[in-house]
């Protein structure tokens, strides 16, 4: 290990102002690091000639003496740091400095670097600082919170003393606030020591946080617009612990350093978790040294057109509005008189109904509503472009990584073993277009969602063509082939049950409405409008039954449901936690039962509703013994000492698959349009 130099006390005053490089510093530095002679005023790279990467100096002409050094040879670093310190010069990090460190490409390495340290480090003596631009962002935050409002307030208060006093007080406050920001920056240290991420922070109440890398769930790198311009990024580390807050937020680091640190964190986490199998097929060779982002297998890339399509189909209202607007345009082309007549007709109906004649008003209101909906639609499209522009999803190093964003670049990674289930959602709009979106259910906080934990409400893959879904699922769940898992129908009595339920939920309000109309002495023929709902329960039930399907195959439980849109759950058997068989009184009477498969996913459960009760119980037993089987396999494969998150390899899944009889299953792309598969033999129709 290279012991790190002791905390270099910063020069008082404003140490981060660019300082003219002192010739003595230059001399000492060159001495210390045994560097070839070169004028320090010229940016240069020295690491090239020393494979061990002693000290790299990159000094822009702006008189900012930037030293980036990773020193396996601690003495050198020590001297360099001390010398620079004594000479009142500024030592800082340059993110673009050296590509030659023992760390990943482009990682800046400071004089007190500890990233490459193999042995644990005495925590008090070490740690790296954040990027100096942190000061810009933290003081910028102070400015945003104090100064700008003060100035605005002062100006708006006019010439009076009040405005001036506000201005003075707030400016007076902002100086210590900025001072605190600086002191915080100076105090903040982080280090990657052995299997732990150590963070020291806090001015008055000091905090020393140790995060075992084996517990790390997510490592996100985020870049705002300004951050992207300045080549810095924020790194967030999350563990499975409760709360939406990241357990560690390094804001900000040099962009390259953030990437390198992320790669290092992830590869060390893997090393710290012997239970995690080497990532299969892809990315196995990707050690920490390679560029961590673009490696691996590309699962999905959204073209601009697809992003627009994703926004356009994101919510139903907008599209309906566009449709109606188109229709109105048509009406307009045909002739305004008809519209006027429509208004008159509306007036008449309203009058007859005893509401009073205001048909044209109604039309205007409807028009305004329509306008709002179209605007909303546009906002939805623009929003999708801003958010998802350049979306890519890759699988590498045993995790899923996605990158997206037009202004703010989002990068999120989810360890594959954390994925509990996939949900394929085909909304009412997207289904006819052959489009879907993929949600993944994870244990704990959903990744890539900025604090908002709405149970994974954000699509993991915002848009995918139906044909791509199976490939995507395969990309996430390894060998599981969705297309090769034909769905079986639930029990036929499910349709009658659905029809009864629809009838109750539709006819009961209709009856109430009719009763109210009679009591209120309204225009009774209006009730004829209720007639079209008469066949609805039957139609809806038919459709619901057609959509419902399930499969237990290939190591996964697949359950599909929906009425207008549809949702397909894909739950790996080895992720199942508990199983439940539920029967309502009605289901019990008709010999039906619902099978609930519970995973560690937050809040939502997959369920197969209305199976024949006996068949449901059989499935329950099959799945229960599958859980035991996968647990046993896992125990055999990994040392007990490693109590970490698990993965189960593909072989396990195949083992589990044997329990299912695939003989009489036919491959069906889409149940509704295909010949029927008979329901399970153990559940004969009534």
């Amino acid at each position: 290990m290279h012991s790190d130099p002791p905390d270099t006390p910063e020069a008082p005053g404003s140490p981060h102002l660019p300082v003219e490089p002192d010739p003595t510093v230059e001399a000492v530095k060159d001495d210390a690091a045994d560097l070839p002679d070169a004028p320090i005023t010229i940016p240069r790279r020295i690491g090239d000639d020393a494979a061990d990467a002693p000290i790299a100096v990159d000094a822009p002409v702006t008189a900012e003496a930037l030293i980036a050094a990773d020193a396996p040879d601690s003495a050198d670093a020590q001297i360099a740091a001390d010398a620079a310190d004594s000479a009142d010069a500024q030592i800082t990090l340059d993110p673009r400095a050296s590509a030659d460190g023992p760390i990943a490409a482009g990682a800046p390495v400071s004089a007190d670097a500890s990233i490459a340290a193999d042995a644990p480090i005495a925590p008090d003596a070490v740690g790296r600082r954040l990027h100096p631009l942190t000061l810009l962002f933290s003081t910028g935050e102070v400015a945003r919170q104090l100064i700008l409002p003060a100035v605005v307030g002062g100006i708006s208060a006019g010439d009076g003393d009040v405005g001036r006093i506000i201005l003075i007080v707030v400016l007076g406050l902002s100086v210590p606030a900025a001072g605190v920001a600086v002191a915080r920056y100076l105090r903040f240290r982080y280090a990657l020591a052995g299997d732990e991420l150590v963070i020291r922070s806090g001015l008055l109440s000091r905090r020393h946080r140790v995060i075992p890398l084996a517990r790390v769930q997510n490592v996100d790198v985020r870049q705002g617009v300004l951050q992207r311009l300045l080549h810095v990024a924020e790194l967030r580390v999350e563990t499975a612990g409760a709360g939406g807050e990241a357990e560690a937020a390094l804001s900000v680091l040099g962009a390259a350093e953030a990437q390198a640190l992320r790669g290092e964190l992830l590869s060390r986490r893997r090393a710290a978790r012997p239970g995690i199998a080497a990532p299969a097929v892809d990315g196995a060779s990707e050690a920490s040294g390679d560029a961590p982002v673009d490696a691996g297998r590309l699962l999905k890339k959204l073209s601009f057109r697809e992003v627009v399509l994703a926004g356009a189909t994101a919510n139903e209202a907008g599209v309906i509005a566009a449709g109606v607007a188109g229709a109105l345009q048509l009406v307009d082309d045909v002739g305004l008189p008809y519209v006027r007549r429509l208004g008159e007709a509306t007036d008449w109906v309203m009058h007859e109904a005893g509401v009073g004649g205001a048909g044209s008003v109604v039309l205007v209101i409807a028009g305004l509503g329509l306008l709002m909906m179209i605007l909303g639609w546009g906002v939805s499209i623009v929003g999708a472009v801003v958010r998802y522009h350049g979306f890519t999803l890759t699988r590498a190093d045993g995790e899923l990584r996605k990158r997206y964003g037009l202004l703010t670049l989002h990068e999120a990674s989810v360890p594959l073993e954390r994925v509990q289930a996939i949900r394929v959602e085909e909304s009412i709009l997207r289904r006819p277009l052959g489009l879907a979106s993929l949600m993944i259910e994870t244990a704990g906080a959903a990744p890539g969602q900025d604090g908002e934990r709405s149970g994974g409400a954000e699509a993991f893959v915002p848009l995918a063509r139906r044909g791509e879904v199976a490939a995507l699922v395969r990309g996430i769940f390894g060998d599981f082939d969705l297309d090769a898992a034909p769905l079986r129908q639930v029990h036929p009595r499910a349709r009658r049950r659905a029809a009864r339920r629809w009838a109750i939920s539709l006819f009961a309000p209709a009856a109430l409405l009719a009763a109210a109309a009679v009591l209120a002495d309204a225009y009774l023929p209006l009730l004829l409008f209720l007639l079209p709902i008469l066949p609805l329960p039957w139609l809806l039930a038919r459709r619901e039954y057609a959509i419902r399907g399930y499969a237990v195959a290939g190591g996964c439980v697949v359950a599909r449901a929906g009425v207008l849109g549809r949702v397909t759950w894909i739950v790996p058997e080895h992720k199942l936690q508990t199983l439940h068989l539920r029967q309502s009184p009605m289901q019990r009477r008709h010999g039906l039962a619902s099978l609930v498969v519970d995973t560690a996913a937050g809040g939502r459960q997959a369920a197969i509703a209305d199976l024949g009760a006996d068949h449901a119980r059989e499935l329950l037993d099959v799945l229960a013994s599958g859980i035991r089987e996968s647990a046993r396999l896992r125990r055999r494969q990994r040392p007990l000492a490693a109590r970490t998150t698990l993965t189960v390899e593909a072989e396990d899944l195949e083992d589990l698959e044997d329990s299912e009889d695939l003989e009489d299953w036919k491959d069906v792309e889409d149940l509704e349009d295909s010949p029927r598969i008979p329901p399970a033999p153990s559940a004969p129709p009534a």
Binding site: Q577, T578, D598, G603, R617, T644, T645
Partner: protein
Amino acid sequence: MMTIEGTPREAVEAKPHPRVVAVWRISALLWAAGFAGVCVAATVTAEVSALWALAPALLAVALALHLPGARWRAWSYRVGEIDLRLVRGVLWRTESVVPHARIQHVDTRQGPVERMFGLASVVVYTAGSVGARVGIPGLIAADAEALRDRLAALSGTEDAL
């Protein structure tokens, strides 16, 4: 319950101790009393005859007396070699399977009424979402502790995410 292949014979179905019915009745009656109180208060504030409160109050008391028995009859559990199985629910019936491999930790609990009757419950926690907490009520206190230790031992040391 049906027999499952591989399940040892000794994994017999068990029921909560019958005394638990009394426990349930007492707590249900407390609820019913509270409900009756609310009903009476409602009639008083609405300035109608207190007789209106009689019907719902009586209904609540009747349910409080009747349901615990039905609930007990519906309850059964079995600690097998590979999993814990529970059947419960009077109207909405639920059969749950909690594989031992998925158990995170196990508690015993004893409410004040349970203590009076020398009973306790075992609560099993998994990493699941909705079915993450499953309880077995009506165990003799010592049995509850034994069951808790047994389940904890069966659960193994795996991190079952």
